[in-house]
């Protein structure tokens, strides 16, 4: 929207400039006129609907001209219009409409609204001045709503079937905001209306209960409902707390800790207890939307299983000790190991769930206090190939664009990602685009939700991304659709790449990947012909033996078509964890320190030494400073098993449950002299620890998270840490001091200042200027941030083409004869990784097991029936789980999630890793299957 030159309209007699595409309502809201136009059916995030008519205004073409009543929410403002928002007849009309609405609601609605208006609807009623309902013996539409049995077995109007969602149609005013939110925000269409006219009523699915419906519990309906007719258990809790006006309710804005989308959350707190979480409407990232994890899966924070004291293993048993005791104990043991075996016998695994400040501190402790580069984080097992590959192609290992660019894009290429489950808010945004007609290519072995809507779903065999991406490149080059100008001015090594691509045997590749080459050709040509195409990818690209190479193949396609360096294009990894971008940015990598400086280069060593105040007499002296690249996570396990690694510090990561080949991990940890685990629950890994330090949840700490679009956002503590716990930042600072390094007490703002000194792309960030919506790095001094990377040139200068031949994974080469099926794994919507958090919430009631998807063909051949138990086995081990017959997977392919570690799915997964980054190949496991 831009202000049109000199165009203006009159609001209650005063002239104001108008903008293109404004409605009378949005115009009046922008002016902030004291006379606010009331509405009931409007939600700024939804299309104008025009059902309540309460926003009606008088409109004239001249000041004294004839006036016409128009609904302001869907009438465009035009030059010279005179708008009267509160003329006597308009005020009367509003009163009369609201009286009609009240005539169909319980009689106490009016008195409640007059006494203590809480809901949006009650506030509009209260301001309207309606004093009575004049209609006598008015029939109520609720009398036509069928009753259904509730949880206590009584026939009721209230639907309480669901763990979270609630519905009570006696409060409903038929504004349809819920129906529209379900469609226009989440894109699920679980809600609609049955019947017509007066008796029209909101339904779920084919008029079933919330629990029986396909509701994904995003809560968008509950958040937009102006009356509370659709609500949830937490909002109801908040509403009843609001009636007690003696105890204040605080609203704290923070950032969700579940995935890399980085949704902002607004936490309602009373007496240090959380009542409810909502999504702030003004948040740049999520505009009032979030998913059931962010909105509802937070009760783990005060779960009875929370650790509440440091534990030290005494006589083989974890025993509660004081913090001082724990720090002393660790300090003595670490010092002894360091003395006897050297600094490199100690390693740390940081957590992408923790803040930037905490990650920065842990790597600083390992490097500047212990003296080793043995620091890694869980990016290793997810997006390390993205960072590696994009650095090699472009120079920066991060998303080139912002999620907001979806608004401009005209084409979407989605590779190996299932965002409607794993990145729900971004997934919903993509789904909205695609439903409205933006073409979509999905490259995925599984028929995901978005694949259903895709114009081209290339359902390749797991592990063949490089083959199909090369096929796409071939068809683009072959059709003469290369952006020659871009390629010649912005890239290098194209000719070699081109020759290699054109020499490929396409039929052979199509056979390898099990795809129709015509489909790939059509998709490739459509992609190349699009003006602005955006690509997204997930772990379905990275967690492969050719993970980093597939990343570079995607970068090749992006450069071939010139889809980089402007709005609506780019290459955008969907980061799995809330701060996995940040953990790497902060230097939790064995080869690069904070800000991505390679650790083995002399200049960089001096740089870090200077910033960490290292001198000849410091704890780690200049001469003791580590100069070699440290261990990656899988190397840590190998070193532990070999006896080279003696101590391991793990921050908030349950490696026993989540890393591949569990038996190997357990044996490695068991072989350590000292295992220290910072955790909120006694995880399987914590159970093996010598020392367990009780940390804090994101709801109890302050700092920053960096989301998948490089946006650094403020995390604000909503409540104080559970009694007996410390924030993870405090724990590390205390440890550093206990080890003899003088680190100032943890303060989020001070820490950020220190980071800004070390990490160049953070140089302009301060706690103050992050504001509500954060800043996207690189941030220059003064707080100028960056939405789009590589606009005029790549970070590395010219973009570099890389060609890689497809190579079959060793997992398949070695095992496919004996184990002919391929298992691939992924997340579901309801749970997060090992379920440590989500399984301690109501989400457990919604999804309570991992199931194995089996194609109908395979099920028939193996005599497997739906919901029966099956044995799944690989070269490493065997498990038993429930089969579900599905058309989401092709013959020969099996799929499961990994949220219920007791199933020990990682007993089956293997040792193959990405050649460049050692990221495990979770996505391709050669298995066998039989009915149990």
């Amino acid at each position: 929207m831009s202000v049109q030159n000199n165009k203006q309209a009159f609001l209650n007699g005063v002239a104001y400039p108008i903008k293109d595409d404004e409605t009378i309502l949005s115009f009046s809201r922008r002016i902030h006129d004291t006379q606010v136009i009331p509405t009931l059916c409007d939600d700024t995030r939804l299309e104008p609907y025009g059902s309540c008519r309460v926003c009606s205004v008088d409109v004239a073409l001249t000041a004294d001209g004839p006036r016409k009543v128009m609904a302001s929410c869907h009438t465009p403002i035009n030059e010279g219009m005179h708008i009267y928002t509160h003329s006597p007849r308009i005020e009367k009309l509003r009163k009369n409409i609201i009286e009609l609405v009240l005539s169909d609601l319980p009689e106490h609605t009016l008195t409640n609204s007059q006494k203590q208006p809480h809901t949006e609807f009650e506030q509009v009623v209260s301001k309207s001045g309606v004093s009575e309902v004049r209609f006598k013996q008015a029939r109520k539409s609720i009398t036509s709503v069928p009753l259904t049995p509730n949880k206590t077995g009584d026939n009721s109007l209230c639907d309480d079937s669901h763990p979270y969602m609630r519905m009570d149609l006696s409060l409903c005013i038929d504004c349809n905001r819920c129906v529209r939110a379900c469609d226009e925000i989440q894109g699920e269409q679980v809600l609609s209306v049955a019947g017509r006219g007066f008796d029209a009523r909101i339904i779920k699915g084919q008029d079933v209960s919330f629990n029986e419906s396909d509701c994904v519990s995003c809560g968008a309906c509950a958040q937009t409902c102006p009356t509370g007719a659709i609500s949830d258990v937490f909002r109801q809790q908040l509403a009843s707390a609001q009636t007690d006006q003696t105890v204040e309710i605080d609203k704290i804005r923070t950032v969700c800790s579940y995935c890399g989308v980085g949704c902002n959350l607004e936490v309602s707190v009373q007496n240090n207890k959380i009542l409810s979480i909502e999504a702030p409407k003004d948040a740049a990232v999520n505009s009032g939307h979030t998913c059931l994890k962010g909105r509802y899966a937070w009760r783990f924070y005060d779960h009875k299983d929370r650790l509440d004291s440091p534990l030290v293993k005494i006589d083989g048993k974890l025993t509660k000790v004081s913090w001082d005791h724990a720090f002393d104990y660790i300090a003595k043991r670490l010092t002894s190991i360091k003395t006897n075996h050297g600094s490199d016998a100690i390693a740390g695994i940081s957590s992408a769930r923790c803040t930037n400040e905490e990650n920065y501190l842990l790597q600083k402790m390992m490097r500047a206090v212990i003296g080793t580069n043995n620091i890694d984080c869980c990016a290793r097992v997810c997006h390390s190939p993205t960072a590696y590959g994009m650095q090699h192609s472009f120079g920066t290992g991060a998303a080139t664009n912002s999620i907001d660019d979806l608004k401009q894009t005209e084409f979407i290429l989605l590779i190996g990602a299932n965002p409607t489950e794993a990145h729900p808010v971004t997934g919903a945004k993509i789904k909205q685009k695609v439903m409205k007609g933006t073409p979509l290519i999905v490259l995925d072995p599984v028929k995901t939700e978005l694949a259903r809507y895709a114009n081209w779903h290339i359902q390749l065999r797991p592990g063949t991304n490089v083959a199909v991406l090369n096929m796409m490149a071939y068809f683009i080059i072959d059709a003469g659709l290369v952006d020659e100008n871009f390629v010649s001015t912005r890239t290098e090594e194209y000719n070699d790449y081109r020759q290699a691509i054109l020499a490929l045997n396409i039929d052979e590749l199509a056979a390898i990947a099990g795809v129709d080459k015509i489909l790939v050709q059509q998709a490739a040509i459509a992609y190349a012909n699009a003006n602005n195409a955006m690509s997204f990818h997930g772990l379905g690209v990275t967690e492969h033996s050719q993970g980093s190479r597939a990343i570079m193949c995607i970068a090749d396609l992006v450069m071939l078509t010139g889809n980089i360096g402007r709005q609506g294009v780019g290459m955008n990894p969907l980061r799995g964890q809330n701060n996995v971008q940040g953990a790497a940015d902060m230097g939790c990598q064995p080869h690069q320190g904070a800000g991505y400086f390679p650790v083995a280069e002399a200049d960089n060593i001096r740089y870090y030494q200077k910033h960490y105040q290292i001198n000849d007499t410091s704890l780690v002296s200049t001469s003791q400073w580590p100069t070699e690249i440290g261990y990656k996570i899988p190397e840590m396990f190998n070193a532990a098993l070999a006896g080279d690694l003696k101590a391991l510090w793990i921050l908030g990561e349950d490696v026993v449950q989540t890393d591949p080949n569990q038996d190997h991990v357990v044996a490695s940890l068991a072989n350590l002299d000292l295992l220290i685990v910072q955790e909120i629950f006694l995880s399987e890994t914590a159970k093996m620890a010598d020392v367990v330090l009780p940390g804090s949840t994101f709801l109890e700490k302050s700092g920053t998270f960096t989301n998948g679009e490089r946006r650094v956002q403020k995390v604000n503590a909503a409540v104080t840490p559970k009694l007996g716990c410390k924030t993870d930042g405090e724990i590390i600072v205390d440890m550093m001091n206990a080890l003899g390094y003088n680190q100032a007490p943890y303060d989020a703002s001070d820490m950020l200042d220190e980071i800004a000194q070390v990490v160049p792309f953070f140089s302009g960030i301060t706690w103050q200027n992050l504001g509500l919506d954060g800043l996207q790095w690189p941030v220059a001094k003064g707080g100028v941030d960056t939405q789009i990377l590589h606009i005029d040139s790549f970070k590395r200068g010219l973009g570099k083409f890389h060609f890689f031949e497809f190579e079959e994974s060793q997992e398949v080469v070695q095992n496919s004869e004996q184990f002919p099926f391929i298992l691939t794994t992924s997340r579901n919507l309801e749970h997060y990784n090992a379920g440590t958090m989500t399984r301690r919430t109501g989400n457990e009631e919604i999804v309570s097991e991992d199931v194995l998807l089996v194609s109908y063909e395979d099920a028939k051949a193996k005599g497997i029936t739906n919901q029966s138990q099956v044995r799944l086995f690989s070269a490493r081990g065997e498990i038993t789980l429930t089969a579900q017959l599905s058309d989401k997977v092709k013959q020969g392919i099996l799929f499961t999630t990994f949220h219920f570690p007791e199933l020990m799915i990682n007993r089956v997964t293997g040792d193959v890793t990405d050649k460049h980054t050692k990221c495990p190949e979770y996505k391709v496991v050669a298995v066998g299957i039989e009915a149990a």
């Binding site: 299309e47 104008p48 609907y49 025009g50 059902s51 309540c52 008519r53 009543v69 609904a71 929410c73 869907h74 465009p76 007849r89 009367k92 009309l93 009369n96 409409i97 009609l100 609405v101 005539s103 169909d104 004049r134 209609f135 006598k136 013996q137 008015a138 029939r139 038929d174 349809n176 529209r180 379900c182 469609d183 226009e184 894109g187 699920e188 269409q189 679980v190 809600l191 609609s192 209306v193 049955a194 019947g195 017509r196 006219g197 007066f198 008796d199 029209a200 339904i203 779920k204 699915g205 084919q206 008029d207 419906s213 396909d214 909205q432 439903m435 409205k436 007609g437 259903r452 809507y453």
Partner: protein
């Protein structure tokens, strides 16, 4: 409306609409349960199950999953205003109930058999068949012999020297030659200019200039565009569109063909109400005849059959209906010419509007006597051309009359042979048109301006005679009831207001309450000013007419005027 649903519907195209699937699955043998069928549809159309259920439950003739629905009955009795005024329906219903049983008799609002009344529909035959007049007397024969056809007869008269809409089409091949000739000789824009010059205005009731509408559609840059013929003639008392589709379908198709050529649309959709089975049959046959001509034209026709919902006559609701959405009224802008069917630029016009096109474009080269000139010269300059009137059984010679715009209403009544019974008012222009007392008739001429000027509405120009015996209090209750039944339920003034109005009058009739005049005034004003579309916004007009012209008859029902009525104390 949902943009998502419009676009998801667009993926399937006009030949595979969810709405027609709903109609088909509902009528089909139920080997699968309805629930499973709709689950499968949801999957196929990539829509939520609630969308399918929600859409289906809107219509009278689709199963909404409850036992009390109006779908799948063996017989339907017409409860439209004309049959109500004729007083025929109690006995028709009794006879139907007697034959089929009470559970097998539903209701339908207006079969367009207003010239004969006693209208009903049978659906346990191979297809739907409508009956009227004396047909009910031979119900046993009709019910036992599926091939029995109605003995319907109504007069078609023309007051013009040269008929326009009522002109016979003898040679179909020759009829369409005009189309080829026109585009051999003229540019698109020249023809559009001629259309504007003719002064043709939409015959659905709103009277929007047709040429302007088509031009704005032409100006849209989308390649995909649609022409939609609104043949959901739901106004009780109106049957002129039914007449055209049954007897002059090629005139309508020709108009749509022209619209396509002048706007760049390649598809013409006729949305015909299910209550008009013969219109559907005749139009289908005409399309086959058109296709057989092989005009070397890439314009395709498609019939969409309605399922019983008056609001589908509102153009945005009609478009949503085709898309398989709940046919609730959409906000404007965007107007259909900008974003209509499947979100594409769309011309929606009434049957009669399209029917005028052939005449208008005839003899275009003849500067003195072209169709354009002849059309323009009929009427008062603002309302041009001719108009079809539907006259109901209250007249001695009921039927269709074609008149020039501007013709005095008294002349029409004369031609219709005067009234067959004592009539106290005419309800002209459908349920949302005005109620004209006898005293005002000689002031009116048949055109948009005259009616508006006198506080009435020409609308679609159906004329129902309200007999002396009809109590106006009952007639108002009927109008509110009709609105309450047919309201889409989107905007509050109509959704709730119509029910409150109905209650107010029913309570007055049953002597439970006097009518609170101030409250009634507020209600009518709220509906008129606040409603989203012409249904809620329009029904206050006839009610206000009655309140004005029949105040004496109604006085006993108002508290302030009369407190002496023993029965209402």
């Amino acid at each position: 409306m949902s943009k998502n649903l419009s676009q998801l519907a667009r993926r399937q195209g006009i030949d595979n609409t969810l709405f027609q699937q709903l109609v088909v699955t509902d009528a089909a043998d139920k080997s699968d349960s309805l629930k499973q069928q709709r689950q499968a549809l949801a999957k196929e159309y990539l829509m939520g199950e609630a969308v399918i259920h929600g859409a289906a439950s809107f219509y009278d003739f689709l199963d909404d999953g409850t036992n009390s629905h109006n779908a799948n009955k063996k017989a339907y009795v017409c409860n439209g205003s004309s049959c109500l005024c004729a007083g025929t329906q109690t006995s028709v219903k009794d006879k139907l109930v007697n034959h089929f049983g009470a559970d097998n008799v539903g209701h339908v609002t207006c079969l367009g058999r207003c010239a004969e009344n006693s209208a009903f529909q049978l659906s346990d035959k191979p297809s739907l068949v409508n009956f009227s007049g004396k047909d009910i007397d031979v119900l046993e024969t009709i019910a036992n012999d599926p091939s029995t056809q109605s003995n319907e007869h109504y007069l078609v008269q023309c007051m013009l020297a040269e008929p326009i809409l009522t002109a016979e089409i003898t040679d179909v091949s020759q009829y369409y030659q005009l189309f080829t000739q026109l585009f051999d000789q003229y540019e698109q824009t020249q023809l559009l200019d001629k259309l504007v010059e003719s002064g043709l205005r939409g015959r659905g009731g709103a009277g929007f200039p047709t040429g302007i509408k088509w031009r704005s559609c032409l100006n849209e840059s989308n390649k995909e565009k649609y022409i939609v013929c609104n043949a959901d003639e739901g106004d009780a008392g109106a049957f002129s569109d039914r007449y055209l589709l049954e007897q002059r379908p090629h005139a309508v198709l020709f108009g749509m063909l022209m619209a396509g050529a002048l706007t760049g649309a390649k598809t013409g959709v006729l949305y015909i109400r299910a209550e008009y089975p013969d219109a559907i049959k005749q139009t289908e046959q005409a399309i086959n005849e058109f296709d057989a001509l092989n005009l070397n034209n890439d314009f395709n026709f498609k019939i969409i059959k309605g399922a019983g919902a008056y609001i589908c006559g509102e153009e945005t609701a009609l478009l949503r209906s085709i898309e398989g959405q709940r046919p609730v009224v959409s906000v404007r802008p965007p107007f259909p010419t900008q974003s209509g069917l499947f979100g594409c630029p769309t011309v929606v016009n009434n049957v009669e509007t399209f029917g005028s096109l052939h005449f208008i474009f005839s003899n275009l080269a003849n500067e003195q006597n072209s169709g354009v000139l002849k059309y323009k010269n009929l009427g008062n300059g603002k309302s041009t051309g001719s108009k079809l009137l539907s006259l109901d059984g209250a007249f001695n010679k009921p039927g269709i009359i074609e008149v020039a715009m501007g013709t005095p209403l008294t002349e029409v009544i004369k031609l219709a042979g005067g009234f067959a019974k004592t009539v106290k008012a005419l309800h002209i222009g459908g349920p949302l048109g005005g109620v004209v007392p006898l005293s005002e008739i000689d002031k009116l001429t048949v055109d948009f301006e005259s009616f508006a000027q006198h506080g009435f509405l020409l609308g679609h120009a159906s004329i129902i005679g309200i007999p002396e015996s009809m109590k106006m209090i009952d007639y108002i209750a009927h109008l509110f009831e009709f609105t309450a039944l047919e309201s889409c339920g989107k905007c509050y003034p109509c959704q709730i207001g119509s029910v409150r109005g109905q209650e107010m009058f029913e309570q007055a009739i049953s002597a439970e309450q006097f009518i609170n005049r101030e409250l009634l005034h507020d209600l009518l004003e709220t509906m008129q000013l606040g409603s989203l579309c012409a249904l809620g916004g329009g029904v206050p007009l006839p009610i206000q007419n009655i309140l004005q012209y029949f105040s004496k008859e109604l006085a006993p029902y108002f508290s302030s005027e009369n407190n002496h009525q023993g029965e209402q104390s």
